[in-house]
């Protein structure tokens, strides 16, 4: 177990591509930290920098109390699980798991014990004599985990470990990795582009975009208080609806959209600091309710384009003059049908206002 500290980390690749800049992050001992973002956001670069597989352009990385900038990967006391598992195809499962220990000159009997212990934990004892190509995807994944576990490292690094698995296995493995973390209490840095993995597995999430940290927080913080439009849209499925609106204070504080007007409850001081201006209104699909178009307390009425029902909940796609709107609802009003109009009610305490240009949230 060890804490990890990244201070002012920069990484520029030889072809002058800036992968990460001004990256500061403290990862606590024993924490399960998720790095999430779209592909090319620099999350894998961070992982490879921690592992020592890439060299820093600038900045400092500490693992535990040790500055590891000039420490080679094998001496960083870390283990890594790769997206394509990276099992050595010419070695058996046992040899794969034992290889790193052999390289570190661990005594033969200890190697055997540790491999069997890990294999037992992962239920792959029966597979020890097989070659990787004789294993299913899920089994290979578990061997890759085993290979990391036998090292007894201070930190586990996961690089999109589940993205090559099918949906059902992914759910199983998610649970297995969580269980392992609870058991071993080793610090984990876990890279993924999958927001479900991010939300369900991590103690904290780091959201990255174009080499920069967008937000760091617990899953719920990130979900409820996105710091900018990118985070708001990235987390949540389907993504947050974004509508252009205008803030006015005359005659009273309101958000104006061609199709609706919403009251603003913010303090007058806040309103004064903002002034009248155009902003983006963010509203999650699950933060609206649908009602009969003639109901009294609806905010807007839009035509229904498509209804996708998944049983316990439904996605309703609405057509606006300048875009689309998605609602995720449990109860479907009786009058709801494709082609007809439907009334929409926003949950007023769940609105997010983002700066028109910078996308930063306009916090109340």
């Amino acid at each position: 177990m060890a804490a990890i500290r990244l201070k002012n980390v920069h990484k520029t690749y030889p072809n002058n591509v800036l992968a990460v800049s001004s990256f500061n992050l403290d990862i606590n001992e024993g924490e399960f930290l998720i790095l999430v973002g779209p592909s090319g956001c620099g999350k894998s670069t961070i992982l490879r920098l921690i592992a020592g597989l890439e060299e820093l352009t600038d900045g400092m990385i500490y693992i535990g109390d040790q500055l590891v900038n000039d420490v080679v990967p094998k001496d960083r006391n870390i283990a890594m699980v790769f997206q394509n598992y990276a099992l050595y195809p010419h070695m058996s499962v046992y040899q794969n798991m034992a290889f790193g220990l052999e390289m570190r000159k661990v005594p033969k009997t200890d190697i055997g014990d540790r491999v069997h212990e890990a294999a037992d934990m992962l239920q792959i004892i029966d597979l020890l004599d097989r070659k990787p190509k004789e294993l299913s995807g899920g089994q290979q994944q578990r061997v890759a985990l085993g290979r990391a576990i036998v090292q007894k490292p201070a930190v586990f690094l996961f690089d999109e470990p589940l993205s090559n698995l099918d949906a059902k296995l992914r759910v199983q493995m998610r649970a297995q990795i969580k269980t392992l973390h609870a058991l071993l209490k080793t610090t984990i840095v876990y890279v993924t582009h999958d927001q479900v993995e991010a939300m369900t597995m991590g103690d904290r999430i780091v959201i990255m975009h174009e080499g920069l940290i967008q937000q760091i927080g617990t899953p719920l913080e990130i979900y409820h208080q996105p710091r900018n439009r990118f985070v708001g849209e990235f987390i949540g499925s389907p993504p947050m609806n974004i509508l252009p609106v205008t803030i006015t204070t005359d005659p009273k504080p309101e958000l104006r959209h061609p199709d609706f007007v919403l009251p603003l409850a913010q303090t007058s001081a806040w309103l004064e600091s903002i002034g009248s201006r155009q902003v983006n209104l963010g509203i999650r699909p699950e933060d609206v309710t649908l009602a009969d178009p003639h109901s009294a307390d609806i905010h807007a009425t839009w035509p229904v384009v498509l209804i996708e029902s998944m049983g316990h909940e439904s996605l309703v796609y609405l057509k606006l003059a300048d875009g689309d709107f998605v609602a995720k609802v449990n109860d479907l009003p009786g009058s709801l049908k494709e082609g007809a109009d439907i009334g929409v009610r926003f949950q007023l305490d769940r609105l997010h206002l983002f700066h028109w240009e910078s996308g930063e949230v306009l916090a109340p």
Binding site: R48, K74, A79, M80, A86, Y88, H90, G100, R147
Partner: protein
């Protein structure tokens, strides 16, 4: 008129017949050679099938030279093996590490070196014969094993082949090996080479074959009959001392051919793979 399946059958039969006829022309010299080495001298010139089988030529070959000492042929076979094996090991070893560095590491001048290797392959051997010979004189390596193999110890061709193949190995395997504590050399020999079995074998057999077959260079740098590889010894005997002993010549030719033929038999699929994959090494 023939129907479609009949004419197809006929054309296929013709195809096999033509291929088989051609194959006889290819194989006939081998058959003749082996038979000639086993028949009495008098029959070598004008009979295909021997009236009796005799091992006298081989007995001659293995008992040449002064009594009590090893036959020069036996020594020559040994010399050929030594020179070819050392070269093969060296070409594989240095080809693999250089190819790995070029394909998977980053260092200054990397692209320059890559292009230089391609550039090297354009230069015909004729340009190097004389100055390398002079170099061997200067080093005092005439009539030594190292004189025979040193110019061939590293090959642009082998390095290029390893480099091309190593490019296809997933980066994560190399990363995993580094995390497991492998040095770069270990990565080459514990991970890359085992994953590149075909390329390794191809480089090895083609190198071994070309060194076994080499003639001109050995002819230039060895004057000592005790150190000559089989190809040169047989060549010089055939043109000199034993020019009127066709039996010894064919027996020697058979001995020179058989090891490579055996190699060909055991690694046959790698020969075809090597040729179709690279088309290099003429």
């Amino acid at each position: 008129m023939l129907n479609r399946s009949q004419s197809k059958f006929l054309s296929l039969t013709a195809t096999y017949a033509l291929l088989a006829t051609g194959l006889i022309f290819i194989i006939f010299p081998y058959i003749w050679m082996v038979l000639a080495s086993l028949k009495p001298s008098a029959e070598i010139y004008n009979r295909l099938i021997p009236t009796r089988i005799t091992l006298e030529h081989y007995r001659m070959v293995f008992s040449l030279g002064s009594t009590g000492s090893t036959s020069p042929f036996v020594r020559a076979i040994f010399n050929s093996l030594v020179v070819s094996s050392i070269t093969t090991l060296s070409v594989v070893f240095f080809g693999a590490i250089t190819g790995y560095a070029l394909a998977r590491l980053r260092f200054k001048g990397q692209n320059l070196l890559k292009n230089f290797i391609l550039f090297q392959m354009l230069f015909p051997i004729v340009l190097f014969l004389i100055p390398r010979f002079l170099l061997m004189i200067r080093l005092g390596w005439i009539n030594t094993y190292q004189g025979m193999f040193s110019p061939f110890m590293m090959s642009a061709w082998g390095t290029f082949l390893f480099m091309q193949f190593f490019k296809t190995v997933p980066q994560s395997l190399i990363d995993a090996a580094r995390l497991d504590g492998c040095s770069e050399l270990r990565i080459v020999f514990r991970i890359m080479l085992p994953l590149s079995k075909s390329v390794t074998i191809i480089v090895a057999i083609f190198t071994f074959m070309s060194m076994w077959d080499e003639f001109l260079w050995y002819l230039i740098v060895t004057k000592d009959y005790n150190l000559m590889p089989l190809s040169v010894l047989l060549g010089l005997y055939t043109r000199g001392e034993y020019s009127s002993y066709p039996g010894i010549q064919v027996a020697g030719a058979t001995l020179l051919t058989l090891p490579i033929l055996a190699l060909f038999y055991f690694f046959r699929e790698y020969f075809t793979k090597g040729i179709t994959m690279t088309g290099v090494k003429g």
